[in-house]
Symmetry: C2
Amino acid sequence: MKNFVFHNPTKIVFGKDKVLEIGKEIKFAGYKKVLLVYGQGSIKKIDTYDKVITSLQKENIQYVELSGIKPNPVFSKVLEGIEICKRENIEAILAVGGGSVVDSVKAIAGGVFFDGDFWQVFQRKARVKKALPIFVVLTLSATGSEMNPSTVITNETTREKFYFTSTAVYPKVSILDPVLQFTLPNYQTSAAASDIIAHIFELYFCGEDETELQDEFSEGILRTVISFTPMLLEKPDDYHARAQIMLSALFALNGINGIGRESGDWSAHMLEHSLSGIHPEIAHGAGLAIIFPAWLKYMMPYIEKKVIRFSQKIWEMDSPDAGIRNLKEWFNSIGLESSFKNFGIEKKEIPIFTEMAMRMSPLGSLKPLTAKDVETIFSNCF
Amino acid sequence: MKNFVFHNPTKIVFGKDKVLEIGKEIKFAGYKKVLLVYGQGSIKKIDTYDKVITSLQKENIQYVELSGIKPNPVFSKVLEGIEICKRENIEAILAVGGGSVVDSVKAIAGGVFFDGDFWQVFQRKARVKKALPIFVVLTLSATGSEMNPSTVITNETTREKFYFTSTAVYPKVSILDPVLQFTLPNYQTSAAASDIIAHIFELYFCGEDETELQDEFSEGILRTVISFTPMLLEKPDDYHARAQIMLSALFALNGINGIGRESGDWSAHMLEHSLSGIHPEIAHGAGLAIIFPAWLKYMMPYIEKKVIRFSQKIWEMDSPDAGIRNLKEWFNSIGLESSFKNFGIEKKEIPIFTEMAMRMSPLGSLKPLTAKDVETIFSNCF
C-alpha cells in the first residue's frame, strides 16, 4: 500500500427536501451574493429551480444567473462565468445541476483569481491556488464532482477535453436530495451507473497491492450499483434505490477508494475524453461502457489477478473473461451500447481519437500507453 | 435511510515515517507553541518520542509536556492540562498516543474555553463550542478518536465514565504511521480489534433499514479485521497487516459507517463504560468482547434479520446463533476472555454496574433499556 494524505473538507447534506436548506447554508458560511449556475432548463420543468430561489430569497441571498451549461461543458461558458463574477462582485458560486454544471462552476471559481491564459491550467502548465467558495445542489449523481477537487472541461476551439485538480475547488457544501433526481430520464441513470463503475475501476484496477479494505469498499459500491440501477430504471422515483445510487456515486470518487493506491490509472477515462471531446453528443458514461471492457481485455496481462478477484466478488464466476463478459452484458441490460458503431462512428476516426488521447500523455500508471496501444483499444471498441 | 449530514474536516497523513512530518504540519497550520501530551512513557521505550521532538525542534515549535495519561483516562488529568494551557499560553495541543491520550487532549482542548464546572459537559448539561486546535500522532489504532469529534473520560470521584461530542474537537491533522505500532503488546492489538468490531456493531445493528451500501462498508471492515488481526498477533511488525487494521479502526468510526443511520445504538458501549469506570484495569475492548455477544443475544428480537445477514456475510453461516457463536470463538482465539468471571468480577457487582449504566440513560435507540434489561445483559456476561 502506498502512503497517502486524505483530507476532504466538503460538507454533505443528504435527504428529502434538503434543497430548501441551500440558502441557510450559504448565509451560515457568510456570503450574500452568488452566481447561480445551471443547465438547459430541466430544473425549471420540475420545481427544483423554484425551491432554490425560494430558499435564497428567504435568506436574502442575492443572485445573478448563468444558464445553458451543456453536457461535456465548454470552456467559452467558463470564461463567460468568470467575467460575470468579476463584473458583479460575486462572493460565491452555486451550482444547481449534475457533473457538467458542478465542473463548470469549479472552473469558473478557480478562473476568477487566475491571471493569464486560463486554459494553461488544463494543459498542466499552471495551477489554481485560490477559488471562490462553491455550493452545490446536485440534480444528477454520477461524476462525484460534488465531493472532489477535479473538473473536466472541453475547449471547443481545440476539441481538447482536459481536466484540472485543485484543493481550492472542493465544494464547501453539497446538498444531495434524492427527490430532485426522480425525474431523470432512464438513459441518464444508466450512463451515470456506468460512470460510477468506471471511477471504481480506475482505482481498483490500478495495480496497487495490499489494499484489501479499499477493495472491499470498491466491491461494495460495485454490487450496490449493479443491484439498484435496474430497480431505478423500473421505478425512477424509488427513493431508496435513488439514495443508494447517489451514495455510490459520492463514495466512488471522493477519495476514499483511492487511499493507498496513489492516484489510479485513468487511461480509460482519457480515451473516453478524446472520444466525447470530438463527439460531445455521446454521454461520458455511455462511452465508458464501451471503452472499459475493451481496456480490461487489453490490460489483462497487467491485472489478471485483480480481474479474477473482480469476477469472483462481483459475479461469482472464476474466469476473468467471464467477469468482463458479464459486465458487458450488464451494461447492455441497462440500455447502454457495446460498440462505437451504434453511435454512427466509423473506424476511420480512430487516428483522430488516438492523436487527441496522446495529447494527454502520459496515459495511465499501470503501463504508459503508446499510440499503438491506444489505437488497438479503440479498434476493440467496434 | 435517515437524512444525514457528513462533514469530517480531519486531515489524515498515513504511512511509513510520516511521524517526522508532525512539526511541519503544525507549523503549516500556523502554531508555534504546543502542549505535548502522552501516556506512561511507552513512546520513550521506542523512538517515537525522539522522532516527535526532532520534528518539532526542526520547525522551531516550542512545547510543554503533560505525561502520565492512563488507559481509561481520568478527569483530574484533563483539568491539569487545561491549567497548563492557560498558564503557558498554549496555541495547540499535540497528542502522541492511542485513544486515551487523544480523548484527554480533546477534553483539554475544549475545556480551555469553558467557564464553570467542566464535568457538566460530560453530563450533557452544557456544550463545548470552541477548542484549541488538535494534532495527533497515533500509536494505537482502536478508538477511531483520531478522526472523530468524541471523547470519553472517567471522573475518578464519581466513577462516571462519560463522553461528549463536539465538532470543535475534530483533530486538525492525524498522523498514522504503522511503524509506530509495531511494538504494541498482542493483548492491546486484540483489545483494539474488539473495539473496532464494536464500533461497527453499534452502527450496523442499530435497526435502520435501506442502508445496503453502508452495510457493505461495515461488512468489509469486519472481514478485514477478522482476517488481519491473527496475522498481526503472529507478526506484530507486519506492515501490511498493521496498515489494514489501522485503516479499519479509522473508518469504523469516522462517520462514514454511520451515515443514514442517525447515530447508532451505543447501549453496549454504555454498559462497558459502567464496567470499566469501576474497573479501570479492564481494557475497553476486552470488556466489549464479553458484553457484545450477550447484548446481541438479548436484542435478537429487534435485530434478527440483521444478525442473519451478519452470519451470512461474515461467517458464511445461515443461523443467527451460529454467527454469534463464531464471533465469541473468534474473540477467544485472539486471546480475549468470554466471561466477567475471568476478570475476577463477582455477580454481586451487577447492581452497581447497572446503577452506573442507568445514570447514562436513555440507553440505546433500538429499545431504550430498562434497569432490568441491563441487569439481565450483565448477568449473561458470566
